[in-house]
Structures are given as structure tokens and as C-alpha cells.
């Protein structure tokens, strides 16, 4: 492991590029952003993820300068951004609608920002050529925005916002208008361009798969607050709240009461059901109510009772066949539904379980996450 891992947020020496300090934003009586403090580091690909109305777009518009901060401060490279208008910030934005200027050609769109800076002519020409090459748009330089396809427009918007070499690039749902297939290719292209240019990217999205694919860190937002900001793997495997566990991916949440046993906790969740066991670094009082979050792919499904501590009996209620995976909805005797997922490594005819079968569900002591409730 000679290669250093890119984790500036774990390095106390690292200086953040952007600092939110107790930032609150109100629209009249409505609090869009509620007293948020967090940092974004240079060269990061930071994703703001959340349902619509959670404040993620407001967060981005404050960075761009289109919204004023009600309370608190936003610092860019140590400098307070409040008095700097949008046109003077070293921040550029790629708009959800792309906002390409319809009366200008692709070339003129990309050159637009450079011309405002009164750059010498040949410098502009060089930079635009460089951007066209980066986004593979050389052939379309003289076309107008309505003469190119959706994917090409998306790349023009990206090229235009990168042309001024901003310290920070904001991307508002950049792939929202593309179809699923094109979106996947474009996600990797976006990461590639981010690495090539070394620009710090902040992306706003409601698509968790997109956030997980592109981002170094994902901030899951709800109701004006960042619930958790961490690497995609940590967000998924170590959610810090029921909200995050439930928002990202598929999960079964079992409510119960914790009792300390060994290096973990026993969780009693229903009369007549065996207690479950989970290891946790968090401390719970004996008898404290808690939530056990377990991902479907970590639940094994067997016909016979397995020899593990976490084993529950139930009947198959539903099978969601997704091609590569099948998700089984298993109903326990208590009526609670637990989801189990298996990879379909065999052809359909060889499948073991069907509706109404009685099966056993099991998982290891470290598979589930114990959350406060």
C-alpha cells in the first residue's frame, strides 16, 4: 500500500477549500438550510444527495452566489464569500437545464466566459479548442445548441462551465435529462474529466446510484440538514441513522431493545422470537430501544435451520425477480417483513424457493448495523 489514499477529510493538516460555518438560510418563515457546518476539500467530488425540497439546491445556489446566506458564513479558500457577487466568484455552475445560449454557436458558448474576462484572442482560441477536445465536441464547434443531441448539449454545458478553470464547479442534476444508458457512460466520463482537470466538483442529485458512482464523499440531506457526509462505502455500510440507512439502498429495519452481551448486543424484538445479536461500537443502555438495519444482500435464505445466532423463520410472500438478482420478501410469524437478496447464479429452472415456502433467514453478527432509535 504505497499509494496514498485520497482522504483529505481524515487529515487534520488538510486545508478545506470550502467551509460552511453555521450556515442558515431562510425564505420567509421557511428554513431551507438549518445551521450547517461542514468542509469540502480540494479535488473532491462531493455529492449532495436528498429528496426534492431537502435544501440541496439551495446549498448549491448559495455557493454560486445566487442566494444570500441568512446566518453564518461560507468561506472559499479562507475568504468570506458573502460580499462577492456571482460574476466575481471563482466558481462556475453547470445548470440542470444546461442554460446554453440558443443564439450562440457551441464555440461561442464555450468562449463566452473567457471573453467576459477580456482574455487575449489567441488565448481564448486555445482554451476553447482544449475544452472542445476534452469533451469530444470538435466536430460540432460551429453548430447551434438546437442542432446537436441531448448528450452533446450536456457536454457543451460542461465545457462552458470548465472553460474559466474555476476553483469549484457546481453541477445541478447534470445528468437528469439523459436516458439511463447514456447517463451511465456519462457518469464515468464526468469522473474522468474531474480527475484530468483536478477541479473540485460539487454535484446535486436525487439519484443515489449516480452519487455513489461519481462521488468521493456523499452528503445525505434531509429537511435542511446534512444527516451524514461520508464515502459511498461508509454511507452504505455504516449509516449513522435510520434515515440514512433507509434512504440509501434497500434495507430491513427491525425495532427492538438492546442488552449488552459479550462484544455486542442482544436485541429482543418480538414475543416468541429469538433474540438477535449484533456487534456495535456504539454504547447502548440495557433495555434501550434501538433499530437494527440489515441489507437484503447480507441475509442468507435456506430451507433448513442454519447454525448461527441470527436465524429467523418465515414464509415467502413475494419474489422480485430483477434478472441478476432476486429479492425475497419473507414474512415472519409476527407479520414483519424481512428482505433477502440472492444473486441468480443459476438458471431459473434450478431455483429452490417459491411463494409460500417456509424458509430460514440468517446473517452474521457483523452484518447488521445497530442504530439508536
Amino acid at each position: 500500500m504505497s499509494q496514498t489514499v485520497f482522504e483529505p477529510w481524515n487529515d487534520p493538516q488538510a486545508k478545506p477549500l470550502i467551509q460552511f460555518k453555521n450556515v442558515t438560510k431562510r425564505f420567509g418563515d421557511f428554513t431551507a438550510i438549518d445551521n450547517q457546518t461542514f468542509d469540502i476539500y480540494e479535488r473532491e467530488f462531493f455529492a449532495l444527495l436528498g429528496p426534492s425540497g431537502c435544501g440541496k439546491t439551495t446549498m448549491m445556489r448559495m455557493l454560486a452566489g445566487f442566494e444570500k446566506v441568512t446566518e453564518g458564513k461560507i468561506l472559499l479558500a479562507g475568504q468570506d464569500m458573502a460580499p462577492i457577487p456571482p460574476n466575481k466568484r471563482a466558481v462556475n455552475m453547470m445548470f440542470q437545464s444546461y442554460a446554453l445560449f440558443p443564439h450562440l454557436s457551441v464555440w461561442e458558448n464555450i468562449a463566452f466566459g473567457l471573453k467576459r474576462d477580456k482574455k487575449p484572442k489567441d488565448e481564448i482560441t486555445d482554451r476553447v479548442a482544449q475544452m472542445l477536445k476534452l469533451t469530444r465536441l470538435e466536430k460540432f464547434a460551429q453548430r447551434k445548441p438546437h442542432q446537436i443531441s441531448g448528450g452533446q448539449r450536456q457536454r457543451v454545458a460542461l465545457a462552458r462551465s470548465l472553460a474559466k478553470a474555476p476553483k469549484l464547479l457546481l453541477l445541478d442534476e447534470p445528468l437528469g435529462a439523459l436516458d439511463a444508458k447514456l447517463r451511465q457512460d456519462t457518469q464515468f466520463e464526468l469522473v474522468d474529466i474531474q480527475e484530468k482537470t483536478g477541479t473540485t466538483f460539487v454535484i446535486v442529485t436525487h439519484d443515489q446510484e449516480e452519487a455513489m458512482t461519481v462521488a468521493t464523499r456523499v452528503a445525505v440531506m434531509d429537511d435542511g440538514k446534512i444527516m451524514q457526509a461520508d464515502t459511498p462505502a461508509n454511507i452504505y455500510e455504516r449509516p449513522n441513522s435510520v434515515y440514512v440507512a433507509d434512504f440509501i439502498g434497500d434495507v430491513t429495519i427491525i425495532e427492538g431493545r438492546a442488552t449488552k452481551t459479550g462484544d455486542g448486543y442482544d436485541i429482543a424484538f418480538a414475543e416468541g422470537q429469538p433474540t438477535l445479536h449484533a456487534e456495535s461500537s456504539k454504547t447502548f443502555q440495557n433495555g434501550q430501544s434501538c433499530h437494527l438495519a440489515i441489507r437484503p444482500e447480507k441475509v442468507a435464505i435456506t430451507a433448513d435451520k442454519p447454525d448461527t445466532r441470527n436465524a429467523l423463520k418465515g414464509t415467502i410472500l413475494d419474489i422480485a425477480y430483477l434478472g441478476n438478482l432476486s429479492t425475497y420478501h419473507v414474512r415472519l410469524e409476527t407479520g414483519q417483513i424481512v428482505k433477502a437478496q440472492t444473486a441468480n447464479t443459476r438458471r431459473l429452472s434450478r431455483r429452490n424457493f417459491t411463494w409460500e415456502d417456509t424458509v430460514w433467514l440468517s446473517w452474521t453478527d457483523t452484518a447488521a448495523v445497530l442504530l439508536e432509535g
Binding site: 445548470f95 442554460a99 445560449f101
Partner: protein, 270 residues
């Protein structure tokens, strides 16, 4: 499929006759040899010749064009500014009152607009002439411009302006480099509307005109009172021709533009 039934043909003929018969008669009589309007005495273009040598008509035409160009230009600037404020500034207190007051002249009787302007000019002791007509025409035509431009602005994507600001434009640059070029067709049609309104206005112009500033409609109206003349027919025919050519050209241009755009978009998809 027989679409042309006896009934359809009759309705069409009646409708068009109702609309265009008066104008057709006017055009035919403009080529009448006789001085008497009601008696046909053979084809001639002599009244057109007489018209072109009649200095008072030429003067009136020149005044009309001057007034129309000036008033429609001022009205376009003011109307566009009003539209921007109305569409953009969201809900400020008194917005409803403000927008109502901008659109009121649309339904205000012209006689009242004319009269109140006349009183204003007299009160301020302004000599009536070309400038007072220009002011009056600006007043009543700017609301038309504002209606046309604001209907375009409602569907204007605000993020285009934000993108311009984001890329380093000042508010002013963003307007002139991005917003104005995009809404230009609406602004131009607003100007054309104001221009035509000014061109054929009689009522307001007659309240606010002075002795040295007779516009064409006033000239026509006052010569009619001395009796119909074939010269007036010739003049009116010319005006119809100018308007027709203008309207057809404008619609051809916009149709060609939209066809080209459609073709471009089809080309982009393949």
C-alpha cells in the same frame, strides 16, 4: 371526400365579401379616370401621379412616418422595461395595482386618453406639434409592447441569465448579451405593433396635433369632409399595399425561420 359543398362556398363568399368588398371597391375606384368618385369613366393611374405631386399629402406622410418611428421606438424601450419589472420582480407590494395601471390604456377609450393628454399639454404650456403626438402615441402604445414582451418573458428560462452572471457578466451585460438577443423577436413584433398603431391613429393624434404637424390620417379625414376625391382612394390603396406587403413578408420570414429550426432539430436527432 367532397369538402366544397354549396353551403360552404356561400358562407365563404359572404364572409370574405363582408370583409373585403369595401376595400376592393376603394381600390377599383382609385384607378378611375373620372373626378367623380361614383361614376366609372375608364382606367387611369393619373390620381397616383397627382398624389405624388401634392405637397401637403407628402408632408403629412412624412410627419406620420416620423411620429410612428419615434413613438414606437420609445414605446418599445419603455414597454420592454415595464415587462421586465412585471415578470421578474415577483411579488412586491402594489404589484397588482402597478400591472393593472400599465394595461389600463388598452381598454381606455381613445377619446379620453387624447383629451387628458391635451389638457396636460395645455396645462404644462407645451406647444403642440410633432413631439406632442410622439409623446401621446408612446403613452398608448407602450402597453401593447409590454403585453407582447411580457408574454415572451414568462416562458424565458431564468437560468440563462444566471449562467451569464455565473460566467462573469454584469447584470447589464447579461441583459444585452443574452436576454435581449433571445427575446428580440418579441421586441421587434412589439415595435411593429406600436408602429402600425401609431400609423393609423386618428383620434389621439387629432387631440394632440398642432397646425404644423398634420398626420396622414388627420389629412385624409379632413379632406373627406370637403368631399370624396379619387386622390384619397389612391392614397388608401397605397397604404393597403404597404401593409399587405409588410404582413406577408413578416409571416414568410417567421415561417422560414421555424421550418429551418425544425429541419435542424431533425438533423440533430439522426
Amino acid at each position: 371526400m367532397r369538402r366544397v359543398t354549396w353551403f360552404n362556398a356561400t358562407s365563404l363568399t359572404l364572409g370574405f365579401a363582408f370583409l373585403y368588398l369595401p376595400m376592393v371597391i376603394l381600390i377599383i375606384y382609385s384607378f378611375n379616370e373620372s373626378k367623380l368618385v361614383t361614376v366609372w369613366a375608364g382606367f387611369s393611374t393619373k390620381w397616383y401621379g397627382e398624389l405624388l405631386s401634392n405637397q401637403s399629402f407628402l408632408d403629412a406622410a412624412w410627419v406620420t412616418v416620423k411620429v410612428a418611428v419615434m413613438s414606437s421606438s420609445i414605446a418599445t424601450v419603455l414597454g420592454t422595461m415595464a415587462a421586465l419589472v412585471l415578470v421578474r420582480s415577483g411579488r412586491f407590494s402594489g404589484r397588482t395595482l402597478f400591472s393593472g395601471m400599465i394595461y389600463a390604456p388598452l381598454v381606455m377609450p381613445e377619446v379620453i386618453t387624447g383629451l387628458s393628454l391635451l389638457l396636460l399639454f395645455i396645462g404644462l404650456n407645451i406647444d403642440r406639434g410633432v413631439m406632442t403626438i410622439v409623446l401621446a402615441h408612446t403613452t398608448f402604445s407602450m402597453c401593447f409592447v409590454s403585453v407582447v414582451v411580457s408574454s415572451r418573458l414568462v416562458s424565458f428560462d431564468r437560468s440563462l441569465e444566471e449562467a451569464a452572471l455565473d460566467l462573469g457578466c454584469s447584470q447589464m451585460q447579461a441583459f444585452f448579451l443574452v436576454t435581449l438577443p433571445i427575446i428580440a423577436p418579441a421586441v421587434i413584433s412589439g415595435w411593429l405593433l406600436a408602429f402600425t398603431l401609431s400609423l393609423d391613429d386618428l383620434v389621439i393624434a387629432s387631440f394632440t396635433a398642432g397646425p404644423s404637424s398634420t398626420t396622414l390620417p388627420i389629412k385624409i379625414w379632413s379632406s373627406i369632409r370637403l368631399g370624396l376625391s379619387p386622390e384619397i382612394n389612391a392614397l388608401s390603396t397605397l397604404m393597403i399595399a404597404v401593409v399587405t406587403v409588410g404582413v406577408i413578408t413578416a409571416s414568410l420570414i417567421s415561417k422560414r425561420g421555424s421550418l429551418k429550426r425544425q429541419a435542424d432539430e431533425r438533423a440533430a436527432e439522426t
